[in-house]
């Protein structure tokens, strides 16, 4: 029973990691670089949602505004920075994304201040399922995450632009000579990644407190999940996020609370040593 409860405690965190990892893995699969600005896009989503909620009183409206704003900023970052560096090395793009992250964080620090802020959400006693205690807010957040995932996978697998994205991820050159316009694919991908980051950011912010460092601190577990899931594999990122979130909590009776974070790194080491392509990744084809 204890373990089941611990696992339940880890699910929402796992979903947050999974969504962030999904945003990272989409960028990696299509634009082919690790995007260090993903964390700060999350933070932006959290702040926009918070501001809109305080102004309008509606969390739903806040969420929608956050998704729109984060998607917009994500697109802007691509148009202004990453697009111009597209032919450069991965390192150039990675460093540029770290720079974009710094700019975003600094702007948010000036705009919203460095004092912690919190979402005013109703507090409620847990729902009892047998002996299992589930927080009602966690159910809501879980629902939101699943909806975001449904939309993302719907776009990827059921729409023409999603098919084009997957084609570019598979083989950009082949995609181009098949008549796929890379700019449209890129724009759509950055919008999607920004929107996903916003959802992850809002979820994390509702569970914790909002400060300019919110998303930056999530980057390590999110990257770990992206690697564990197999870089570039959307479903892998989500599954790996959940595995990490749940494993961290379930491990605590054995390793204690201070080492649960290290578990991510042990997992990452293990993956890199034993199965470098990750859970769902494919081997890079040798050309």
């Amino acid at each position: 029973m204890l373990y089941l409860q611990l696992a339940a405690n880890g699910v929402v965190y796992g979903l947050v990691i999974g969504l962030a990892a999904l945003a990272i893995t989409l960028v990696f699969g299509i634009a082919r670089f690790p995007n260090a600005a993903a964390g700060d896009t999350m933070t932006l989503g959290a702040y926009v949602a918070l501001g809109t909620q305080q102004g309008s009183g509606s969390l739903l409206l806040g969420g929608l505004a956050a998704v729109a704003a984060a998607a917009g900023v994500s697109l802007l970052a691509w148009a202004l920075v990453f697009r111009r560096l597209a032919k450069r090395s991965v390192v150039a793009l990675l460093v540029a994304s770290i720079g974009a992250a710094f700019v975003l964080r600094a702007v948010m620090g000036v705009a919203w201040g460095h004092q912690q802020q919190v979402f005013q959400v109703p507090l409620a006693f847990p729902i009892l399922l047998g002996e299992l205690r589930i927080n009602p807010m966690d159910l809501w957040l879980g629902g939101v995450a699943l909806a975001a995932l449904a939309v993302t996978f719907g776009v990827l697998h059921l729409t023409p632009i999603g098919r084009a994205m997957r084609a570019v991820a598979d083989d950009p050159d082949l995609a181009r000579i098949s008549g796929i316009r890379p700019d449209r694919v890129m724009a759509a991908m950055w919008l999607l990644a920004g929107g996903l980051s916003a959802v992850a950011g809002i979820m994390l912010a509702i569970k914790t407190v909002v400060s300019p460092e919110l998303g930056w601190e999530m980057l390590l577990p999110a990257f770990t999940a992206a690697i564990l899931g197999g870089i570039g594999s959307p479903i892998g990122a989500v599954v790996a996020g959940l595995v990490l979130g749940v494993a961290q909590e379930v491990s605590t009776p054995f390793v204690g609370f201070t080492y649960k974070i290290a578990l991510s790194f042990v997992v990452m080491l293990g993956v890199l040593l034993l199965r470098p392509r990750g859970l769902f990744g494919r081997l890079e084809a040798v050309r």
Partner: protein, 404 residues
């Protein structure tokens, strides 16, 4: 004429040598203000930094310290050891400061103190970690702490727990020098009173959920949870706790149980929380001088709101008085003079101008600060009193003071 590069360099170098009088008048005593403007210390950092600047202005208005103006170089340590180390390096290497003052978080102070030791400059902090008292951190005796150690805080917590009649305490600590210092200080003091300690949970910062940690802490049905924590984690833990529906009281450090906590969680969740904070040297002329400056610098807000700003104010005054006393700007001489001007015996003085006049008249002085009576023990630590603040209906009220 043939001007070589070497000759022109020599000519440039010679300029300061031929104008010693001019250089002398422009010379200042440089102090680095390294404060937590952002991060967990941000509720206090801006006030700390502004009161350093205000204190320096006051010293300069009184004619400076032994003829030199104090010059302040301000940095943000972001309440983060990495950022603190960068800030300290910049202050030392670029600004050539002779003292770094106002470090708040223990983690930052422990990271920075080896650097100030190597550079042979004074270091003054408001951190709690017991390790700052002794070598290696304070191997050279250049580090001064204007706040109670976490160990003393823990003793204060234990006094309050006894007074409130708690019997089954458990402890929860954030995994850093401050949190662990607080809770271990409490556990030692609690055991010394002949009581049994409960579960001890150490947790990581910035976690999205602390429910598993809370389940463990509350598993033994305690009547009080004694926290060694900071504001963000306390916010998350209390929100999680209230949704678990397990009745228990909390004793938290004042930097976690502050108005920001009440603002974040509202009066219902925070009802009955006891916050423990060292209290300023209220009702004394030293505090009044600080309070006036605080109101002027901080938009009319009372100096009671920020005990750390009183500490940084005292840091500047202490250094300036030590300069007056030693008639020197060298670290060794200043360091030797600090206890002379701050500790008994001597005429009790509470402002820089007063102390300067007394020293000029050849009297021994004892600075009674805005933050405490400011008597440094052999470790460079002071012993302030503690206030027990109770949060009720969203108001934070001090009910009594505990002396240890």
């Amino acid at each position: 004429m043939n001007i070589t590069r070497r000759a022109s360099l020599a000519a440039t170098m010679a300029v300061p040598l031929v104008t010693p009088a001019l250089a002398q008048t422009a010379e200042t005593f440089r102090i680095g203000a390294m404060n937590p403007i952002t991060g967990a210390g941000s509720p206090y950092g801006s006030g700390m930094q502004r009161l350093i600047i205000a204190a320096a202005e006051m010293v300069n208005a009184a004619g400076g310290a032994h003829g030199r103006r104090l010059e302040i170089f301000a940095e943000d340590d972001q309440t983060s050891p990495q950022a603190g180390v960068l800030a300290a390096r910049k202050l030392l290497d670029v600004n050539r400061v002779r003292a770094i003052i106002g470090s708040w978080a223990s983690g930052v102070s422990l990271a920075v103190v080896p650097i100030t030791n190597d550079a042979n400059v004074l270091f003054m902090n408001t951190s709690g970690a017991p390790a700052l008292s002794v070598p290696p951190a304070n191997a050279r005796g250049l580090s001064y702490r204007f706040q109670a150690t976490n160990d003393r805080f823990g003793r204060g917590f234990a006094e309050i727990a006894v007074r409130e009649g708690f019997r089954r305490p458990v402890t929860m600590a954030i995994n850093n020098a401050s949190g662990i210092g607080n809770t271990e200080g409490f556990r030692r003091a609690w055991a010394a009173k002949g009581n049994a300690n409960g579960v001890h949970v150490v947790y990581e910062p910035s976690q999205p959920s602390y429910r598993s940690e809370l389940q463990r802490a509350l598993s033994s049905r305690p009547d009080v949870v004694v926290m060694g924590s900071f504001l963000p984690d306390t916010t998350i833990i209390l929100r999680e706790w209230v949704q678990m529906g397990v009745p228990v009281k909390f004793i938290v450090p004042g930097w976690a149980g502050n108005p920001q906590l009440v603002q974040a969680l509202g009066p219902v969740v925070t009802e009955g929380i006891i916050a423990v904070e060292s209290v300023s040297n209220e009702g004394t002329p030293g505090f009044t001088a600080f309070d006036e400056a605080h109101r002027r610098m901080m938009g009319g807000r009372s100096g009671l709101e920020n005990v750390y700003a009183a500490m940084t104010w005292d840091m500047v005054v202490t250094i300036a008085l030590a300069i007056e006393q030693s008639r020197s700007f060298e670290t060794a001489a200043l360091n030797a003079a600090i206890r002379q001007v701050a500790n008994p015996e001597g005429d009790k003085i509470s402002t820089f101008a007063e102390g300067k006049a007394a020293i000029a008249a050849g009297r021994k002085i004892n600075y009674e600060g805005a933050s405490s009576v400011l008597d440094f023990d052999e470790f460079g630590d002071v012993t302030p009193d503690f206030g027990a603040f109770f949060i009720s209906r969203g108001e934070i009220t001090r009910r009594y003071i505990v002396k240890i």
